[in-house]
């Protein structure tokens, strides 16, 4: 291959909040995780492993959140997911039988049965239930660069008033990554692309070399970046910032202008769970008393109509190939243009939520596979790259401070700071301050029980900080769950705090919490102790 004119960095950010319910048997939210594994993570892994086995050259960046990795490595959830897959395969079998006289659906039913059986065998046999290990293998083979995000996906701009909490989210994430992969993450995905000037110092402290912002984070940086989002800038802390390219983003993201809304693609909302007899569906609802998605959907988008037409797999796959061709063509033209006006090789950064591919956009993994193959074999203008490869190729970079930004609605914090969710911040900020005080006051080695209570308090704080809860409160579905989760962690933290302060820690209760909110077994509350930057404003 001749020298490329520029680079494309595709970044897939995989994240789910920690929704493990050790005692619950019917938590709807645990199904989010099972669905994402079935529809996104395992199909993506399978596709990437297949390309690697075929020797197709590619480089891709995959961000795995610590909460997601923790769930993937949890034995209880591994067992439950395996049972979930058995149920799904049973349902798909019933469906191939039930639709025998509906040829328009029967082929699709058979496709689901094959897919689910394949996912089951990949999960149980190929991966030995260790999907993280699968991705780690791809990373070792030089196919993907694995990065991570803040510990519980806390939205950092709204932690600016309690810097020790923002710092702890980053340090704990890097520590967890090291405990899983044995190395320091080279990059970090800032939750929701939420950046505020100064937070990069903690990335630096954690040994992280780069992060991403939304386009305006770089475009509005100061001094003005010469190449806009098409070359990284360096924060004064020595960490590189890459900006999201809006053009490639929109084509994939947008439900209306983008590819996923194409009429041939599978319709997400028309699930058999809502169409079929309750007695038939109920055994597959995981004990939930209401209808929820099964993952079996027989219709295509069809158009802006309620009268959906049956899904035709062949049309959908052909469309994914066409769209991949269009995507690559547009990137070629974009990079040709950029290369003609830049005196350095441009990099186009295209980040997506991993769950978009497969879960929301069913044909997304096929689209990505076509994109990778076309870039590898059909052209020589662009090359896939990871951010670190790009940095390692460069000699010099511009120094500039990105602007506060996020990739949420309107580009700032209004999703996570709104009438419906702003009540959480007085608690989150007070908890963060109290946690720092505890780390300061209990800096000397503590008796086992006190130490465990302190570590558990840090876990409760972090779990309460997941950006997902505020997001769900704003989005308006499953609000009760998000409110309940937030309150449970606030209340557990406050009781731990009072018990520690009054030297009256209940051993059984702490053990109970450790088994329920069991994320980050190696948590060390001392990450909340003062850092050079942590002159907490709230301490006045």
């Amino acid at each position: 291959m001749s020298e490329p004119k520029g680079y494309l960095a595709i970044v897939l950010h995989a994240h789910l909040p920690y929704v493990r319910h050790a005692r619950g048997e019917a938590y709807l939210e645990e199904k989010w995780y099972y669905e994402a594994l079935t529809e996104t993570y395992i199909p993506l892994y399978t596709m990437l492993a297949r390309l690697a086995a075929e020797g197709v050259p590619y480089r891709l960046t995959v961000s795995l959140s610590p909460t997601l990795m923790s769930m993937c490595r949890d034995e209880l959830l591994q067992e439950r997911f395996s049972e979930f897959l058995d149920g799904l395969c049973r349902l798909a079998e019933l469906e191939t039988s039930r639709t025998r006289w509906q040829p328009q659906f029967c082929e699709t039913a058979k496709m689901y049965l094959e897919r689910f059986q394949h996912v089951r065998s990949v999960y149980n046999e190929t991966l030995n239930r260790d999907i993280i290990g699968g991705f780690a293998r791809l990373a070792r083979e030089g196919r993907i660069e694995l990065i991570t995000t803040a510990a519980t996906h806390g939205y950092l701009p709204l932690m600016e008033v309690c810097p020790s909490a923002a710092r702890a989210q980053i340090i704990a994430a890097a520590n967890y990554y090291r405990s899983v992969f044995g190395t320091t993450p080279k990059g970090m995905w800032l939750p929701e692309c939420g950046y505020y000037p100064g937070v990069d110092a903690y990335l630096r402290e954690a040994g992280v070399r780069y992060f991403f912002t939304d386009a305006h984070g770089i475009e509005n940086a100061s001094p003005r970046p010469r190449y806009g989002v098409y070359a990284p800038i360096y924060c004064p802390s020595g960490v590189a910032a890459f900006g999201r390219d809006m053009e490639s983003s929109k084509q994939v993201w947008s439900a209306h202008e983008g590819y996923p809304g194409d009429f041939d693609y599978r319709e997400f909302y028309r699930d058999i769970a809502y169409d079929l007899d309750w007695d038939y569906i109920r055994p597959f609802m995981g004990g939930c008393p209401a209808r929820t998605h099964t993952g079996i959907k027989y219709y295509r988008v069809t158009g802006r109509t309620e009268h959906k037409q049956p899904y035709v797999r062949e049309w959908a796959v052909n469309k994914a190939a066409t769209h991949a061709g269009n995507f690559v063509f547009n990137r070629e033209r974009q990079i040709e243009h950029l290369a003609s006006v830049m005196d350095t090789k441009p990099i186009v950064v295209a980040p997506y939520d991993a769950e978009l591919l497969g879960h929301w956009w069913f044909e997304g993994p096929e689209f990505l596979e076509f994109v990778i193959r076309k870039i590898a074999y059909d052209q020589n203008i662009i090359k896939l790259i990871t951010p670190v490869d790009y940095l390692d190729e460069r000699a010099r970079a511009q120094v500039s401070v990105p602007s506060m930004s996020s990739w949420g609605y309107m580009g700032y914090s209004e999703v996570w700071l709104a009438d419906c969710n702003h009540w959480i911040y007085p608690h989150l900020h007070m908890m963060a301050r109290r946690m720092s005080e505890l780390a300061h006051d209990y800096a000397m080695p503590q008796p086992d029980l006190i130490r465990r209570a302190l570590n558990q308090a840090a876990r409760e704080l972090m779990l309460a900080q997941s950006s997902d809860w505020a997001f769900i409160m704003k989005a308006g579905t499953c609000v009760d769950y998000a409110v309940g989760r937030t309150k449970s962690h606030i209340s557990r933290f406050n009781r731990l705090y009072n018990d520690i302060r009054s030297s009256d820690v209940d051993h059984e209760w702490v053990a109970d919490l450790e088994s329920i909110d069991n994320i980050f077994p190696d948590m060390d509350y001392m990450i909340y102790s003062a850092s050079p930057m942590a002159s907490a404003i709230l301490d006045t």
Partner: protein
């Protein structure tokens, strides 16, 4: 103490933390959010100090412009009277890329301001590209070798500024954020309500039918329904659910004994007539 962790919805959170304070956060270039708490002690002190006039006093936020680079506006102050029982407020500011802090206090007789607490200082993001065009370029090796601590900038090598814009995205943001007027707070903390959507209401009905073919034979037999093998329960009963489209559907139930020496067939036809698709 056991069992406290069970139900996610059984939790209470404190109304406050018994501490007088005000905290300011940035929402976007044109909006900030302040929340505060006035402790019981502070409230009692205020009541003692202000006496009768406290009943006619107003809870006030004073928004202070703390932007250092701009001497003309530095220290400029705008007062917002808020609802006496409010504990948070969204504050609209007309200029982005500035520093602010907020003082919480009571405005009592003769417009006197009794200070209660001062917030942290925040800086709102700029809208649009920076006016600063002095480029700083450094070697990546040097940049990444920076130890923790402040970064020393070197002089810019003075290359011609040449900028490539992705899209006019920032402009859209600026337009959409409603940045008009002086400092004011048109938005209190209202409770979102939704009017019932009676206009354009649609009535709908969906119905369909399925067929259940069931039966029993000797345990261990092979049973098929219209050519497809059927799973049998250990007691020899079986049940198959089949979608029932419009048309004539031949049902053939076949059973063969475990030793394959005996077999039985039962068949019939089911017909469904009427509208297609159940609509």
């Amino acid at each position: 103490m056991h069992g406290l962790c069970g139900e996610v919805n059984a939790y209470q959170v404190p109304e406050g933390y018994g501490e007088t304070r005000i905290v300011l956060q940035v929402r976007d270039p044109f909006w900030m959010h302040a929340y505060w708490e006035i402790s019981r002690e502070t409230a009692l002190d205020l009541a003692r100090e202000l006496g009768e006039s406290i009943s006619s006093s107003r809870l006030t936020l004073r928004v202070n412009d703390m932007t250092m680079r701009d001497e003309a506006d530095w220290g400029k102050q705008v007062a917002i009277d808020v609802h006496p029982f409010a504990n948070n407020w969204y504050i609209n500011v007309c200029k982005p890329d500035r520093s602010y802090c907020v003082d919480l206090g009571l405005t009592h007789s003769a417009d006197e301001f009794r200070f209660i607490a001062r917030s942290n200082v925040v800086h709102t993001p700029r809208v649009g590209p920076s006016e600063v065009r002095d480029e700083e370029w450094l070697s990546i090796r040097a940049l990444e070798a920076v130890a923790r601590g402040p970064m020393v900038y070197t002089a810019s090598p003075g290359m011609p500024a040449q900028r490539i814009r992705a899209e006019e995205w920032a402009r859209e943001i600026a337009l959409g954020s409603g940045g008009v007027g002086a400092i004011s707070s048109p938005v209190g903390p209202p409770v979102p309500t939704r009017a019932p959507e009676m206009a354009g209401r649609q009535y709908w009905l969906r119905a369909d039918a399925e067929l259940v073919v069931y039966g029993a034979t000797e345990p261990g037999s092979q049973v098929s329904v219209s050519g497809m093998p059927v799973n049998m329960a250990s007691d020899g009963t079986f049940s198959v659910r089949i979608a029932l489209p419009v048309g004539e559907l031949p049902i053939e139930v076949a059973a063969e004994s475990a030793d394959r020496l005996m077999s039985r067939h039962i068949s019939w036809t089911v017909a469904r007539t009427g509208l297609k698709d159940g609509r």
